[in-house]
Amino acid sequence: MNRNLIIGLILSAIAILAALVSFIWTPFDHVAMNIPAKLQTPNLTHWFGTDHFGRDIFSMIMVGARTSIAVAFVAVGIGMGLGIPLGLWAAARKGSYVDELIMRANDLIFAFPSLVIAILITAIFGAGAVNAIIAIGIFNIPVFARVVRGAALPIWEREFILAARVAGKKAARISVEHILPNVLNLLIVQATIQFSLGILAEAALSYVGLGAQPPTPSWGRMLADAQTLVSIAPHLALIPGFAIIITVMGLNLMGDGLRDHLNPRTRVART
């Protein structure tokens, strides 16, 4: 275990723990409004203060962690679910039309400005968590396809693969039984990175009002709500901002730490 990994695990654990605990307990009901008690600064009753509707920010941050994590998690899931098979397929048929087609399609998706497209998708098909997941997920597909293909190609040249081929195994089976386990480390690292990017993307979409819809709390929307209040109640913007930063940083450190821990020599594309 290296230092990055430990710090990363601790920081990410805060968010994950907050999200899990919120299912059974929050200090207050996160949707309960109390307008006379609005805009309180952090105090003993409301640990992070209250927002413009008098809701308890601590509870909202806890439940908001759930939203952020769920959106990013499923978006990464979509990316992996579609990207990994495509990447494996392309690698197995290296140089063929299938390979060419998959990689060109990848390039094409990469060529689209992701944030603009995510905003477009949610604006066109309706704002909400599900569409936010899809919008973020689409751009995860080529990332995983590319990583898998890149890592799988050299493995196809290895002797044990040749042996499997001689034994009459089909390419699909080899991909699943031999290639996939060998690129798994890389995938885990890439997944943590995409996960952190997903949390940032969710925050951005919610900030422009296109993410999870109220009353479901979301860190990004808390920031959007805080926009005009930041000069009189800075904690409204500071607290969700710190929540995002800590979580993203934790995941990134975890990714870096995992990379060094699992395989010191592999490098992961991060853009």
């Binding site: 390039d107 094409l108 990469f110 060529a111 603009v116 422009v208 920031l223 995002i244 930063i245 940083m249």
Partner: protein, 315 residues
């Protein structure tokens, strides 16, 4: 080489065609009609129909697609539904804001990131490296719109050093333009600088492990000397690639930052056009951005292939 170039060019054309189809038909699904949007809630149905006819919206979708793509080949993107001005003109106007902003942000991020990356690589594993790397971790994790909010709060509202936003206008001179773009550029540059510094550092470290570097050091040069003499030049290729990618990201990625600082740039144009269902504008701007990236990639591929013939056989 010619065969390779032709092949790549063909795939470029196919990519553009597929992109235009995707963009047009996905965006056209959008519920909402620009004519009803323009005319509001008291409009009579015959008025809306008259406006639709005036805007050419009563023409079948596929015909509009053909007209749009044909126009684009000659640089004519058509007319905006709401603004009623040629889109090429609107885009050109907005580029005069977005382009300097992207360049400014890119310059800032490069100026910060390259020295930081080099320093970290030279001090690998020591306190300086750890400090720089921790700072980059923070930089990547900060949402740029949040950072922008904080900058406005501190430097515009509290200290009043900068305007709270807005674009000075080129008639006020370059200085005023730069001043008005400073806060937006900083908020855009921060995460990019963090990424770039990390790339710079790891590229240098990669290069330093190469044989020729070991040879250089064996010849008696110090680490710093080899770094400057050989390392930097060789590490520049991945760094330049990232800078190129970042530029296209910055051009479109300012969409939220332009909103926070009310800059009349390309991103805000798209935002406004989406809400007004001025779809032809949205389609054209997205197409342009995609076009820029695809062409840059094409140029980069060709450049690499020229340098390294092995790449022509795609691996």
């Amino acid at each position: 080489m010619i065969r390779y170039t032709l092949k790549r060019f063909l795939s470029l054309c196919i990519s553009l065609a597929v992109a235009s189809l995707l963009i047009f038909f996905v965006i056209e699904i959008a519920p909402g009609d620009p004519a009803s949007f323009m005319l509001g809630i008291n409009a009579q149905p015959d008025t809306v129909a008259a406006l639709r006819a005036e805007l050419g919206l009563d023409v079948p979708k596929f015909e509009r697609y053909l007209a749009w793509t044909q126009g684009m080949l000659t640089g004519d993107f058509g007319m905006s539904y709401t603004y009623r001005t040629p889109i090429s003109q609107m885009v050109a106007d907005r580029l005069w804001v977005s382009l300097p902003l992207a360049l400014f942000a890119l310059a800032l991020s490069t100026i910060i990131a390259l020295p930081a990356g080099i320093y970290a690589a030279a001090r690998r594993g020591k306190t300086g490296d750890v400090a720089v790397m921790s700072a980059t971790q923070l930089g990547v994790a900060i949402p740029n719109f949040w950072f922008a909010m904080m900058l406005v709060l501190i430097f515009a509202i509290k200290l009043r050093w900068f305007a709270g936003g807005g674009f000075a206008g080129w008639d006020k001179g370059l200085g005023a333009v730069m001043w008005s773009l400073t806060l937006p550029a900083i908020s855009l540059a921060l995460p990019q600088a963090a990424i770039l510094a990390r790339v710079m550092r790891s590229a240098l470290l990669d290069v330093m492990n190469e044989d020729f570097m070991r040879t250089a050091r064996a010849k008696g040069l110090t680490t710093t000397q080899t770094l400057w003499k050989h390392g930097l030049r060789n590490a520049l290729i991945p760094v330049l690639t990232i800078i190129g990618l970042q530029f296209s990201f910055l051009l479109a990625g300012g969409i939220i930052i332009e909103q926070v600082f009310y800059l009349p740039g390309l991103g805000r144009l798209v935002f406004q056009a989406i809400s007004a269902r001025d779809l032809i504008v949205v389609e054209s701007v997205v197409m342009l951005l995609v076009f820029a990236v695809i062409v840059v990639n094409f140029a980069v591929d060709l450049a690499y292939a020229t340098v390294d013939p092995r790449l022509r056989a795609r691996t």
